[in-house]
């Protein structure tokens, strides 16, 4: 990480991101080549698009941000994040945050990933440690340092899109890591794509535009804002509508089904056979 930083510090933010990520990936060849390769491909295309279109990303500036908000954010940042990200977010033990945008901060802090507690394969989700307002302050402080993706507008994240289109896009772009029903899945070296149940629309959107940690970036050329809205719509549909077939068994597929039939199905039947053949006295 620190090596990456020294090499990449002088580059524009998005390029840096691209390099950081591609380094992290190409260094480790792995038997799970399909997943890794797909991810790599997506990272490259995502990153390259981001680099090419860096101007367009920050356009959706929703609220005018006052100097006061930014000042508050700066104070919070220096108290809570500077040890890792540096006093001016230029990077220290953690990566530089210049140009990651408000969306990235809102996602990382809003889902409780940041401030990071434990060094591990990937930052863990914890109960968020800041109020919504503080999160926004942090986000706009970081956004003021360099252009980056903004927190998405409400109409994009409220789940009012086309679920069928979203489902298809989700299967093509996300299911290889997150599982078709968003139940999560394993990546290499202890990293994993988390289950997407209970994640808010805003955070889903932000995850796509910022590509947290081991997830690729899906920028607006890659998946348009309307398509992102559709994906969110689909994920919300899956969350709000229980499976018509009964308990989902964690949507884990045939493994959970196999365990159920062996343990409960055959288990209860064996118990019955024991009862049937018990001596009747």
């Amino acid at each position: 990480m620190s090596l990456d930083r020294s090499v990449t510090n002088s580059m524009p933010a998005n390029r840096k991101k691209l390099m950081n990520r591609s380094k992290r990936r190409t260094g480790r060849r792995h038997p799970l080549a399909t997943v890794a390769l797909l991810a790599l491909g997506l990272v490259f295309t995502g990153g390259a698009y981001a680099a090419l279109s860096s101007g367009s990303v920050a356009q959706a500036e929703a609220e005018p941000t006052s100097q006061e908000t930014i000042e508050e954010g700066k104070k919070l940042f220096q108290a809570n994040c500077a040890t890792c990200h540096g006093l001016d977010a230029q990077g220290n033990n953690g990566p530089s945050l210049i140009g990651v945008g408000a969306a990235s901060v809102d996602f990382q802090v809003g889902t409780g990933r940041m401030p990071m507690q434990m060094q591990g394969p990937q930052a863990q989700v914890k109960p968020p440690q800041f109020t919504d307002e503080q999160v926004k302050q942090l986000a706009y402080y970081v956004a003021s340092l360099g252009p980056g993706p903004d927190i998405p507008a409400d109409h994009l994240v409220n789940g009012g899109g086309d679920a069928a289109n979203g489902a298809e896009l989700f299967r093509i772009n996300c299911a290889m890591c997150h599982n078709v029903a968003g139940a999560g899945g394993a990546l290499t070296e202890g990293k994993f794509a988390p289950a997407l149940t209970g994640v808010s629309g805003v955070h889903i959107y932000e995850a796509m535009v910022t590509g947290p940690q081991n997830m690729p970036v899906f920028n607006d050329l890659n998946i348009s804002p309307e398509d992102k809205r559709d994906i969110i719509t689909y994920l919300k549909y899956v969350q709000d509508n229980r499976s018509p077939g009964g308990f989902e068994l964690g949507s884990l597929g045939p493994v959970a089904e196999g365990l159920l039939i062996w343990i409960f199905g055959l288990g209860s039947i064996v118990a019955i056979t024991v009862w049937i053949t018990a001596k009747s006295n």
Binding site: A167, A181, G184, A186, G246, E257, G265, L266, T277
Partner: protein, 544 residues
């Protein structure tokens, strides 16, 4: 039974049932058959019912499957989905997929029957598996039942094939991924692979023919074979009679237990409804194969957590365990040892399973018939081999869920795979030795009990001040159970008629030594009497 008694009653007072049964009997002579069958005895150990669990779940599969055929359309023509599941509306998919969605959402009771079919299929194969283990560990495959072991094995393989073809029918993402793996495996076979794949799929994968072809296999050819083999298999069980555990009055020539009619038939009939009920309950409560999540098959997306049904898991696991880099180009061809090695390993494993009865009989030089089931501990080597086989299979099986093991126990993928590689290679050896030791220890304990009785927990102080524990002698029944088993000795090498010792004989003698070197002989009558005469006071002075 009732038919036999109705004949003697006055004709004018006959009930309707009696009249009806006589009508049938006069035209079919079925009473004789029923009487014959009805007097067959059925031994009453719970594990002897596992075969029936398989049989009855197959009945559920058959009935529910027939319902599905009314609505399922095995065509790969593209249509735009227009059913009631919103997140798929307007999506292009095959007719097979669309009709399965219709079964799930738009046909009354369809989803329930679909889930029943799939859950019953899983239970069917699971019951066969457990049934096979029972037969193995009690030595019920010995002469004259070796042939039936082979039929049973074929049923197991056919059931897996039935399951896999069924799993591939709905043409959803999971089906397609499964077929893609099969396609890859077929193509990995040198020389004929690619041709075979083209033949199978009617062109380049996935083509438009495969679902129709699998459908023919799934509802016509394979079920016909399964039904025929079940008939033969169960027929043989009637001819050979059931094996039974040793006990007083239980001879190799008889079979002790309640007669099939009326008690057993009633119990079995009830049992069928119980199984039906368990499957219905599961089908009503738990989702299985939610194809609406997976969406239509399309070669580009792959889902995390893509797994086959449990009974194909061991093959998937074998593929996952192969380390990277076992595929290389040589002589202008790609040699896919990452596929060939698992295929060969599984092939050898299956051949060993089906051939085991013959191997064991050869090693023992045993040509006698056996009708008394072994207690697993009394055949330590067989039990140990079985445990090794189970460990091997379980390792492969677990490997099919390596990704879920990693995420759910916060482990790394690599760690899980390496641990399972070790399990598959070293695990069987460790399991073998542990099981053998445990069996022999249990046999020793049995011997103690037969010779000296149970520890009663009652401590007595002798006049001399010594404390001893009173041992309670066994009753006749328990003793019978513990002493009646056969013990083999290693075969000696004997020259054949021409005074030669063949290599085959040498091999056999050494395998036989390995089998029977460590053994515990059953207690003999002499030993028993000797032990008893020293127990006059009903106290055991040898155990202070």
């Amino acid at each position: 039974m009732s038919t036999a008694t109705t004949r003697s009653t006055a004709p004018e007072k006959r009930s309707f049932t009696a009249a009806a049964s006589e009508y049938v009997n006069d035209r079919t002579g079925i009473a004789v058959a029923i009487k014959g069958l009805g007097r067959k005895a059925f031994p009453d150990h719970w594990s002897f019912l596992l075969g029936e669990v398989a049989l009855f779940s197959f009945v559920v599969v058959l009935v529910s499957g027939t319902f599905l055929t009314f609505f399922f359309q095995a065509s790969m023509a593209e249509v735009e989905y227009d059913g009631s599941y919103v997140p798929l509306k307007g999506v292009e998919m095959s007719v097979a997929m669309a009709s399965t969605l219709d079964i799930s959402f738009d046909i009354r009771g369809g989803l329930f029957v679909r889930q029943m079919h799939h859950w019953a299929a899983l239970l069917f194969v699971a019951a066969i598996g457990l049934h096979m283990l029972r037969v193995f560990f009690t030595g019920a495959f010995r002469k004259p039942r070796e042939i039936n072991w082979v039929f049973g094995f074929l049923l197991f393989v056919l059931a897996m094939a039935e399951g896999f073809t069924g799993y591939s029918l709905p043409d959803d993402l999971l089906s397609g991924n499964g077929l893609r793996i099969i396609d890859g495996m077929v193509k990995g076979i040198p020389l004929i692979g690619t041709w075979t794949s083209f033949l199978l799929f009617g062109g380049e994968f996935p083509g438009t023919a495969i679902v129709g072809r699998l459908y023919t296999l799934h509802i016509l050819l394979l079920p016909a074979l399964v039904v025929a083999l079940i008939a033969v298999h169960v027929g043989y069980v009637f001819i050979h009679k059931h094996t039974q555990f040793a006990g007083p009055g239980r001879q190799p020539t008889n079979s002790v237990g309640p007669p099939i009619l009326p008690i057993y038939a009633a119990k079995a009939g009830g049992f069928m409804f119980i199984i039906w009920g368990v499957i219905s309950l599961i089908a009503a409560m738990f989702t299985i194969n939610p194809i609406w999540n997976y969406g239509p098959y399309d070669p580009s997306p792959v889902s995390a957590g893509t797994q086959p049904d449990w009974y194909i898991g061991f093959a998937d696991g074998a593929l996952r365990l192969i380390p990277p880099g076992w595929e290389f180009v040589w002589l202008d061809r790609t040699w896919s040892f990452n596929i060939l090695v698992p295929l060969i390993a599984i092939g050898i494993f299956l051949v060993l399973v089906v051939g085991y009865p013959f191997i064991e009989a050869w090693v023992k030089g045993d040509k006698r018939e056996h009708h008394i089931a072994d207690r697993p501990r009394n055949a330590p080597i067989r039990t140990a081999i079985g445990a090794a086989g189970v460990t091997f299979y379980a390792g492969l099986w677990a490997a099919a869920s390596s990704d879920l093991l990693a995420t759910h126990f916060s482990l790394t993928m690599e760690g899980v795979i390496n641990a399972l590689q070790a399990t598959v290679i070293l695990g069987p050896i460790i399991a073998y030795f542990i099981t053998k030791r445990v069996c022999i220890a249990l046999q020793k304990k049995d011997r103690e009990i037969v010779l000296h009785g149970y520890e009663s927990g009652r401590i007595v102080k002798l006049p001399g001040g010594e404390f001893i524990e009173v041992h309670q002698p066994l009753d006749e029944y328990d003793r019978w159970r513990l002493v009646s088993f056969e013990s083999y000795e290693p075969l000696m090498i004997r020259p054949d008629a021409r005074g030669k010792i063949t290599a085959g004989q040498r091999l056999r003698a050494s395998v036989s030594r390995w089998f029977f070197e460590d053994r515990i002989a059953p207690v003999t009558r002499g030993e028993l009497e000797a032990a008893h005469s020293s127990h006059h006071a009903e106290v055991d002075t040898t155990h202070g």
